[in-house]
């Protein structure tokens, strides 16, 4: 069974009386353990696609099966539970809580699924260690470099053992060297831990780290090819 399967997935927005077709019917299968790069110019629908895949938004048409379960029509809190257990997010702007230590930022997803305090700390520390941040656990985001912040965000995405990581331009705010480090991390996670990674980028050299590139234009997939 594919981890992600979409059937004629559609998303329309109402903007001031006119309907905007952000996604015009996307049918895709992404298998467990794939590393996929989603590319396309702005307005092509790739962000909308990612929001739907990440259960942050609901489609207006078609179906989205995550691990064989139709996610369409689920209530807010059920979507929250799916995001908590099965999806890790990495954002361009890191989206860490300000004035909150790296450790507590990583603990955050476990706050919402009833993990006991001791277990939370142990797992968060393990995730930080995995990303080479063991001596930064008490630093707050503004005391960390961009690369370190993004690694804290990745630790947060991993901490609930989610099988899927969605990264929305994760290197957009980073310099070239740091970008390469972060991408190596994703590759390592994908190959060693068999975590499925889907990342949005518009840089070809970032997309080159992936195993499959899907290109969007005007709400449709215009190409879908395996690389390497």
């Amino acid at each position: 069974m594919a981890l992600i399967e979409t059937l004629e997935l559609e998303k329309n927005y109402q903007v001031g009386g006119t309907t905007v077709r952000a996604l015009a019917g996307i049918s895709l299968r992404i298998e467990r353990g794939e590393f996929v790069a989603v590319m396309g110019p702005s307005g092509s629908g790739k962000s909308t696609f990612m929001n739907l895949i990440g259960c942050l938004d609901q489609p207006t048409g078609g179906h989205y099966l995550l691990d064989g379960e139709d996610v369409g029509g689920l209530a807010r809190d059920e979507l929250a539970r799916i995001r908590n257990h099965r999806i890790g997010f990495v954002f361009q702007g890191f989206n860490l809580l300000p004035r909150t230590s790296a450790l507590e930022n990583v603990e955050l997803p476990m706050l919402y699924n009833g993990t006991p305090a001791g277990e939370r700390k142990r797992r968060a520390l393990a995730a930080l260690r995995l990303l080479g941040l063991e001596d930064r656990e008490h630093h707050q985001p503004n005391q960390l470099s961009g690369g370190q912040q993004q690694r804290v965000a990745i630790a947060r995405a991993l901490v609930n053992d989610a099988p899927l990581i969605l990264a929305d331009e994760p290197t957009g705010n980073l310099d070239t060297r740091t970008s390469a480090e972060i991408m190596e991390l994703f590759v390592a996670l994908n190959q060693r831990s068999r975590i499925t990674v889907i990342l949005v980028t518009h840089e070809a050299d970032i997309a080159a780290y992936s195993g499959r590139v899907i290109r969007f234009l005007d709400g449709l997939v215009i190409s879908d090819e395996k690389v390497k």
Binding site: D77, A80, R83, F89, F91, R99, L108, Y112, G114
Partner: protein
């Protein structure tokens, strides 16, 4: 669902970040709760004082005095007519069913002497009924008996002030004192009663049998004359009936025709005091209500700040939702934040209110009573204010769209 300790930690951190703002918001609640407690304390103090006065006078008390005398078109003051007698007192006790006890009174000032001590005090001729009417008991000795009254024996009961003045720390029981040079044996000592409504020392008194007072001390021209009759009604509800029965009885006994005016005056003391108590109670309610308005304003302050806080932290809310916070996780976070503000404010307000009451009673001499229920009520109420005014901002936060919240700048 997120645990309460974690939520509390998040809330406290958020409140610490904006110390000044949290403090000022809390100040609204502190003033509100403090005002409620202080105002209720003042009100309770006032009505407590009146209650004490009522019980010191005796409850369900009716006083009968002779009417004014008219001589040559001039009306003299109350009590100038010598119309009331011990016979009237006995008749009231016998014939008025709404009356439970009667005490006639013939009083005057007199010099009293014991050994080499002397003292000017009020000497009141009465019967054993006075102890019931005035709800007064003896600390030692015995009350008057019927025999004392009938035989006009020379015995007396002493108030505490008289005991202190004449005997110091000695036991007066069985000693003989001289009232207007006539020897009287002390058969009882009254318990301490304190000041009356008017500020008179009620303990500065000697009771003697009414007959003794009439025949031996004050020597009245009209036989059996008394200056006043005090009556205790069987209950508060029976007060009016008692008044009516007494008036009817006395008119009949004094042979007053249907067109003629009473030659006596019946006054209901308790009713007056109860009215005073009622108005204090209304007052304290009013004070409390006004103070509650400030608590309400404090609550609106909390709501205002929480709304600002939700807007400022839209992005934080978005992040929390993205990693799996459910509707109630977000709501609980903001409600607990508002609750923390209002409860800390409530506790500080209780301290402020109690201190303010203490300062008031120390500086102005007002009696204030901080009651535990009013403190608990203020605390619970401040908590409710927090929940009530925190709910809307929390509700608003929980309905944010995750994607929009994440992109919020």
């Amino acid at each position: 669902m997120i645990g309460i300790p974690s939520t509390l930690r998040i809330s406290l951190r958020a409140l610490r970040v904006n110390k000044m703002r949290s403090g000022l918001t809390m100040l609204g609640i502190i003033i509100g709760v403090g005002a409620v407690i202080a105002m209720v304390a003042i009100g309770t103090g006032a009505s407590r004082k009146i209650e004490q006065q009522i019980s010191s006078v005796g409850s369900n008390l009716i006083m009968i005095r002779p009417g004014s005398m008219t001589s040559g078109g001039l009306r003299m003051g109350l009590g100038t007519q010598a119309t009331l007698t011990t016979g009237d007192a006995d008749a009231i006790e016998r014939e008025c069913p709404a009356v439970s006890a009667v005490a006639p009174s013939l009083s005057g000032a007199a010099q009293v002497v014991y050994g080499n001590q002397n003292w000017s005090t009020a000497v009141d001729g009465t019967t054993q009924g006075v102890l019931i009417v005035k709800e007064w008991s003896l600390v030692s000795g015995r009350p008057f008996t019927d025999q004392d009254i009938r035989n006009a024996t020379k015995v007396c009961l002493l108030g505490q002030t008289v005991v202190e003045s004449l005997f110091g720390s000695m036991d007066p029981l069985g000693q003989v004192i001289r009232i207007k040079k006539i020897p009287f044996r002390v058969i009882g000592v009254l318990e301490k009663k304190g000041q009356s409504l008017m500020g008179n020392d009620q303990d500065d008194i000697i009771y003697v049998p009414v007959t003794t007072a009439q025949k031996k001390i004050f020597g009245t021209t009209v036989p059996g004359r008394v200056r006043m009759i005090m009556v205790k009604a069987v209950s508060t509800e029976a007060l009016e009936a008692a008044e009516q029965q007494i008036t009817d009885l006395l008119r009949q006994r004094h042979r007053i025709g249907p067109k003629q005016e009473d030659d006596f005056v019946v006054r209901n003391l308790t009713q007056m005091l109860q009215l005073a108590e009622q108005s204090t109670r209304v007052m304290s309610l009013l004070l409390g209500a006004i103070a509650s308005v400030s608590l309400l304003v404090g609550g609106i302050g909390i709501m205002n700040i929480m709304l600002v806080s939700v807007t400022e932290r839209t992005r934080e809310i978005g992040i929390r939702m993205a990693v799996g916070a459910k509707t109630w996780d977000i709501r609980l976070q903001f409600i607990i934040e508002a609750l923390t503000l209002s409860l800390i404010g409530g506790v500080l307000g209780i301290v402020a209110g109690i201190s303010f009451s203490k300062v008031l009673s120390a500086a102005l001499g007002w009696s204030t009573v901080v009651s535990l229920p009013s403190v608990l009520l203020a605390f619970v109420f401040s908590g409710l204010v927090g929940i009530f005014f925190g709910f809307y901002p929390a509700y608003k936060a929980s309905l944010l769209n995750t994607i929009d919240a994440l992109r919020y700048e």
